[in-house]
């Protein structure tokens, strides 16, 4: 076991939580991420087999067991799993899919905030141009949020979303979420 202590994207050793009336923002760090891109003239069967579910179509994400995958481009997906059980997620996927896909570790490229509560839509409409009220569980979209390219994933229709953004700007992203929450609530 190595002796390097990890820090969260916000620079701490525990996840930050911010509570508002009707909204909760929770920093999430227990995830591993890997991008999977289908190579030319290959079938996605191996990727599907790894996920044990059909691959999501544009604008969608799917979850099965501990894994979830979202569509991020033509024949490209971002696969997510709990970090504590899948630290080597990219390696695991690569072993499963072989030459049929290119797999790249993305775990520490991103930060993630779960935004939940009845005021979600009110807060998101001050942040990004997606039609948050029209999203339902299974939808995911990429959007600019405080000038940052982020994924917004609907975890539960109307009241639970995940914002996945660039790790180096985690503080700015959280600041934007909090500023909007305070503005609305």
């Amino acid at each position: 076991m190595h002796n390097l202590n990890p820090i969260t994207p916000l620079g701490g050793d525990t996840c930050r939580i911010h509570d508002f009336d009707g909204l909760k923002i929770v920093e999430q760090t227990n995830f591993a991420l890997a991008s999977v891109a289908l190579r030319h003239n290959h079938s996605p069967a191996a990727i599907q087999a790894f996920l044990d579910t059909s691959l999501p179509t544009p604008g969608k994400w799917v979850a099965h067991a501990h894994l979830n995958a979202m569509w991020i481009g033509p024949d490209q997906w971002l696969v997510q799993a709990p970090y504590d059980t899948h630290e080597l997620l990219a390696t695991q996927i690569k072993m499963a899919v072989g030459d049929s896909a290119s797999v790249t570790e993305q775990t520490d490229g991103w930060c993630q905030f779960e935004v939940s509560g009845s005021r979600c839509a009110d807060v998101f409409e001050r942040l990004c141009n997606i039609d948050i009220r029209a999203m339902s569980r299974g939808d995911v979209t990429r959007t600019l949020l405080h000038h940052l390219g982020c994924f917004v994933r609907c975890e539960n229709t109307s009241d639970r979303f995940c914002v996945i953004g660039p790790r180096s700007s985690a503080e700015s992203l959280l600041h934007a979420l909090i500023a909007s929450a305070k503005s609305v609530i």
Partner: protein
């Protein structure tokens, strides 16, 4: 002061008295008042001074079209000049001041301009301040700016926050008058997602200003019922105090919601305004109409206002503009004003109707076929002079005159995408053309349907049509019975009698004479007229004045009004504060910040940071006793060159390139070859633009046959990735290659200096041999560190020293930095920042952004041979253009001052030791310069014509703007270790 002009009734809340001041005089009004209605209630007619002539002015309208009653609201950082008193809601403690006057509103010294009005006519500036030309910027313009203008800024920071937001709907309804409410009710009941926006703080539009009943009940009762129903519908969002200001592409509308302008200050953390971008599938424009004045001599006196506005003040705000009022009209609508005033017990002096056949009004002095030809009263109206139909002149004593010249539909937003309105001769007004922004329909007065019944009907129909378009079958809402008076109007634009000035544009002091003068001087196009006279400019954009100007221009040109046409309508419909446009992007929040993995550690060391793009990078690390940044940087350079230094290089772009054709892809992207790069090796690469100019450099590490990691410069990380994606998707879609950025996923540190290996050997797990033999220069590979942490090691050097870059997953970056510095204590390891990094790369002669400046080729950079002729790559063909390969082409050289005490400065130009100093003598220029602690001398890199063959020459570095001219010697750009022994050690 008593509210002497306050009437009974109205829609104000008399239980909530509000105190306010205007020009430091205390007044009282009621909740529901605007500043204008409250001032009017207190008998204040004089509210401002005009733009150019400083003429006394009062309120003209009751809405956002107001040209005259502009005030400075609030004070300090919240001070807002040019606020229209007609839309400023009264709140407790409101403080307003008049503007553009000195020393007081009543006695304005600058009113002297009015005496010189003959000289200050249209085009005065252009004709008068022609010469001497040099005086314009320094003398004339400052004086003119001081004399003219409206309100002033406090120059303090605005303390309030402004939000931006995004809304989506099936139907956006712009305006909540009868048409808008009928549309909202129809669409809302069908379950469509509806946004109803109105600039007013009450719904109802003109219904709140008129007395005509709906279903035999007061119209506000119906409005209240509709409002209550809409509030029960989750699918309907009602935005009051929200001005839709522009119609943009694809059904997108801009709107500004004033969430806290009606209170003294916003609540903590709450925005003052929200700039909404509304994405609509369909839009129904129900923006109503604006009444137009009739120009006559001295028609700008305080007390002269629009007839419709008068009804608003009387009926909605329960104030009368005067104790004795006259009405001047060319249409039946003006008669309503007289009726309503009379009903409230206000004395009517006369109704002057330009139409000889105007209907009689019982109980009033009705002057048919008459015209108001002049007025009297310096600071407020005393009387009007009337030419009666029989040619007599009568003075009519009155302290207010209500004027109606007809109504203009608010077609503005129908024209925001270059549409032009069409002329309706019945209304004598422009109405929307068929060429509307896609998805828009127009209803009600905005569409020329001026009766309430027609507005209700069109609103409901528009909703049905709009919903049908998007697949929703809708049924019209039940509508009340309403007045349906026909249009009875005889066009009348201005009174010809009189030698004095008849005002068209009261905000810009444009008169009928000015328009005539413009025509006489050849400015006959309506767009030229606007710019020459300023007609229709500034905060009101000519909402009450443009039509008058067009009508006069048409008459002068012998054309019809539609032949003259309108000027272009552009957003915003009403003024938008800069704060709303900026939103949250102010100060330190102007853009997001990117922090490196070692940021916290660097802060602990007292690092001085610099913004590089959005990144914050440590520039240098001051130590106790160091009083100048050079001391810190020199120490960091020498510490690195003499032992070992560590620098966070996470910010460099990292692009993961995989696929069966990854090597072939890189061969096309880079000017030099990558196909035969062995696995486990790194190669320096140069990227060219299509035109052969170099634009980025970096390295590519081959981790597997089908897997590379490309590094880019920090500044170009996004650009390179974007270009590579373009090439992958569009240029060579047949290549099997996949790209993704991993910049943020890995914390990466440069460890450089003769002791770099010794330091790393304490960090890298012992099973990995990083000796020179096992891990030579340009090697790379996966390793583990600190007892098993996954890592990547690259033996590359930007400093010219024995150096490595080590990468771990970002979450371990902070810990690795601490471990490196701890392990480096025995070697006196130093952290170094971007300044030391820059000094060392100049010492080593490595090109950076200063050299990759968008004008230089590989040849210029001394890297001409890197452009492989054995393969095709982006830019390689065009880099062979003859002009880019001249024998005397600029080549990168090193430059050192003959006197080492002198400083080389970037930007200096290189010229021969003797001869003229001018552009013709230019032989090149210096791009980068630094003090080299290694050489104890200032040094520079630059481009010199034929530089490769000129080492040893003495030249002048000419920099007249800074240190003047110094003598420099041309040397190799590789000041340190030109043979590269150190980095291969």
């Amino acid at each position: 002061m008593t509210q002497s002009n306050r009437l009974e009734g109205g829609r104000i809340d008399r239980t909530r008295t509000l105190n306010f001041t205007f020009d430091n005089t205390r007044y009282q009004g009621f909740h529901g008042d605007t500043l204008a209605s409250a001032l009017m209630a207190n008998g204040v007619q004089l509210m401002g001074r005009s733009f150019k002539y400083h003429r006394p002015r009062g309120v003209l309208t009751a809405g956002s079209e107001e040209p005259n009653a502009l005030v400075e609201l609030r004070s300090g950082g919240r001070k807002e000049p040019n606020t229209r008193a007609t839309v400023a809601e009264l709140y407790e403690g409101l403080s307003a001041n008049s503007q553009n006057r000195w020393p007081s509103l009543k006695y304005d010294a600058m009113a002297i301009n009015d005496r010189f009005s003959n000289f200050l006519s249209a085009g005065f500036y252009y004709k008068t301040f022609m010469w001497p030309a040099a005086f314009w910027e320094k003398i004339y313009e400052p004086i003119i700016r001081k004399a003219a203008g409206l309100g002033s800024l406090s120059l303090e920071d605005d303390p309030d926050a402004y939000d931006k937001g995004f809304l989506h709907c099936d139907v956006l309804i712009i305006g909540a008058g009868p048409a808008g409410l009928a549309a909202a009710l129809t669409a809302g009941r069908e379950g469509a997602r509806v946004i109803l926006a109105d600039e007013d703080f009450e719904l109802g539009g003109r219904l709140m200003s008129e007395t005509a009943p709906l279903d035999d009940a007061p119209a506000p009762d119906w409005v209240a019922a509709v409002k209550a129903e809409l509030e029960t519908l989750d699918n309907v969002r009602v935005l009051t105090r929200c001005s839709v200001i522009g119609a943009y592409d694809h059904g997108v509308y801009g709107a500004v919601e004033r969430t806290a302008d009606h209170v003294a200050s916003p609540q903590q953390d709450k925005p003052r305004q929200i700039f909404w971008r509304i994405y609509s599938k369909r839009a129904i424009l129900c923006a109503g109409a604006i009444e137009r004045p009739i120009a006559f001599e001295n028609n700008d006196r305080p007390g002269i206002l629009m007839a419709g506005a008068t009804r608003s003040y009387v009926n909605r705000w329960a104030v009368t503009p005067g104790q004795t009022v006259s009405v001047f009209t060319n249409n039946d609508d003006g008669h309503r004003t007289a009726h309503d005033l009379l009903a409230r017990g206000v004395s009517i002096a006369a109704v002057i109707d330009t139409r000889p056949d105007a209907p009689e009004i019982a109980g009033m002095d009705m002057l048919r076929g008459a015209q108001v030809i002049d007025s009297k009263g310096r600071l407020g109206l005393k009387s009007v002079k009337v030419r009666t139909s029989d040619g007599d002149v009568r003075d009519v004593t009155c302290d207010a005159l209500a004027v109606s010249g007809g109504w203009n539909p608010n077609v503005h937003m129908t024209c925001h995408q270059r549409g032009r309105p069409q002329w309706n001769p019945t209304l004598a007004a422009f109405v929307p053309d068929d060429n509307l922004p896609p998805g828009m329909v127009v209803a009600g007065a905005a569409n020329g349907a001026f009766s309430t019944a027609a507005a209700l009907d069109q609103g409901a129909s528009a909703a049905v049509t709009s919903l049908q378009d998007i697949g929703i079958t809708a049924r019209r809402a039940d509508l009340p019975t309403a007045e349906d008076a026909p249009i009875a109007l005889s066009p009348f634009w201005y009174v010809t009698e009189g030698k004095g000035r008849a005002w068209l544009d009261q905000q810009n002091d444009v008169t009928v004479k000015d328009v005539k003068l413009a025509h006489q001087e050849g400015f006959q196009s309506v767009e030229h007229l606007k710019r020459y006279t300023t007609l229709g400019m500034a905060t009101d954009q000519g909402k009450t004045s443009n039509m008058g100007g067009l009508a006069i221009m048409a008459e002068l040109a012998g054309k019809s009004i539609p032949e003259v046409g309108t000027t272009m309508f552009r957003p915003p419909y009403t003024p938008v504060s800069m704060g709303a446009l900026a939103g949250r992007s102010v100060g330190m929040e102007f853009h997001p910040t990117r922090k490196t993995p070692s940021h916290t550690w660097a802060q602990e060391q007292g690092a001085v940071f610099v913004e590089v793009g959005n990144w914050l990078r440590a520039q240098w690390f001051p130590q106790p006793g160091e009083t100048h940044w050079r001391q810190s940087v020199d120490r960091e350079v020498l510490g690195t060159r003499n032992s070992v230094g560590v620098c966070d290089v996470t910010t460099l772009g990292k692009i993961d390139v995989q696929g069966a054709d990854a090597a072939e892809f890189l061969n096309k992207i880079y000017a030099n070859a990558f196909g035969k790069l062995p696995v486990g090796k790194v190669r320096y690469g140069l990227m060219l633009r299509e035109d052969g100019i170099a634009y980025d450099d970096g390295t590519a590490a081959r981790l597997a046959e089908d897997h590379f990691v490309v590094t880019t410069t920090t500044a170009n990380a996004v650009l390179v990735y974007r270009n590579m994606e373009f090439a992958r998707q569009c240029l060579w879609p047949d290549l099997d290659v996949q790209l993704i950025s991993t910049t943020e996923a890995w914390a990466q540190y440069a460890v450089a200096g003769p002791n770099a290996r010794k330091l790393l050997q304490k960090i890298v797990d012992p099973e990995y041999d990083i000796s020179n033999e096992a891990f030579p220069f340009m090697a790379c590979g996966d390793i583990t560190v600190c007892g098993g942490c996954r890592a990547r090691l690259f033996r590359i050097s930007f400093s010219g020293e024995l150096a490595y870059e080590i990468a771990v997953p970002t979450r371990y970056g902070d810990a690795l930095m601490r471990q490196l510095m701890q392990a480096g204590q025995e070697f006196d390891a130093v952290p170094y920042g971007t300044e030391a990094l820059g000094v060392m790369r100049i010492e080593k002669g490595h090109a950076a952004g200063n050299e990759l400046n968008g004008t230089t080729s590989a040849l210029n950079l001394g890297l001409g041979r890197m452009v492989s002729k054995k393969k095709d790559s982006i830019g390689s063909t065009l880099s062979e253009r003859a002009g880019m390969n001249q024998p005397d082409a600029l080549i990168l050289v090193g430059l050192q001052p003959l006197d080492t005490k002198q400083q080389v400065l970037a930007g200096a130009h290189l010229m021969a030791q003797s001869g003229d100093i001018n552009a013709a003598s230019d032989q090149g220029y210096i791009t980068s310069a630094a003090f080299s602690p290694t050489l104890n001398s200032s040094i520079g890199l630059g481009f010199l014509k034929g530089g490769a063959e000129r080492q040893g020459e003495i030249l002048r570095a000419v920099n007249p703007l800074e240190v003047g001219t110094i003598d420099v010697k041309v040397v190799s750009p590789h000041f340190v270790d030109p043979e590269g022994d150190r980095l291969r050690a």
